[in-house]
Symmetry: C2
Subunit: 143 residues, 2 copies
Amino acid sequence: MNQHASHKPDYEKELRRAGVRITRPRKVILRILTETDDHPDAMEIFQRASAIDPSISLSTVYRTMKLLEEMGAIHRHAFEGGRARFEQADGEHHDHLIDIDTGDVIEFHSNRIEELQEEIARALGYDIVHHRLELYGRRRRKP
Amino acid sequence: MNQHASHKPDYEKELRRAGVRITRPRKVILRILTETDDHPDAMEIFQRASAIDPSISLSTVYRTMKLLEEMGAIHRHAFEGGRARFEQADGEHHDHLIDIDTGDVIEFHSNRIEELQEEIARALGYDIVHHRLELYGRRRRKP
DNA sequence: AATGCAATTGCAAATCGTTTGCAATAAAAA
DNA sequence: TTTTTATTGCAAACGATTTGCAATTGCATT
């Protein structure tokens, strides 16, 4: 098991490559995503964006996130608690441990678990297309 | 890893013990749940109930499911695809493999995976409160 | 069996997160 | 610059679930 390190992608270049316009609202949103290393939901992104440019709408945040998701630049996660949360897609698969008190997300990866999942699916006659492993926990108090 | 066998609980007795009234709509819904061994969503339960008594409302289905959930008689799962799906709670924990073509749900359990999860959480300084492991797969074609 | 009353119902309206239609605006091509 | 077309903000629509409310119904009591 090992934790996961992140790097900063150039969303603007990716968008340009996808042939879409680099608008002012998009610039702001992309900047926020680049500077972020947590897993914000649309409302959080909207609020951070509003602080920079109050004219940006929540719709545009959603539209931009959908765009980035479709081009594979970010992942959308449906953790517990209503809102979808986003993170940059950096190619390396990982699962999530969510702090139920703070909402903090810790990424981890276990080859052993992935293998076991494959084994189980195979035994049941299935091929795994994707999976979802979320641990909801509470920080252990010092004893 | 082993698959999971289900048994039929007496929801009506449980409800009575909880001190709520056994109404006609509730009787119908409970009967449907008892006769079911898949993982229906509220709309499916509503439709099955409507076939028996067309006057039953979707609200009552939701209210009854919430009631049963609160007394621990059923579990609510937020699989992919919008609607929550329900299953009887029979004490034995298991995870789910969802057939992405049919929506079928196969239950499984792996002590090894559970141990690894614990290990990971511990290493990260957390206690697991609950977790969610869902495999989304497709039936393997005979080669 | 008839009564009384709180629990439960069906309905419509409200909720929450997200998406969408549309007319106005702004990027980028010419 | 002007033109073309994508993108925007807004409000309204959305789908799943919940809720307020007045009408009904279980069921404990006579």
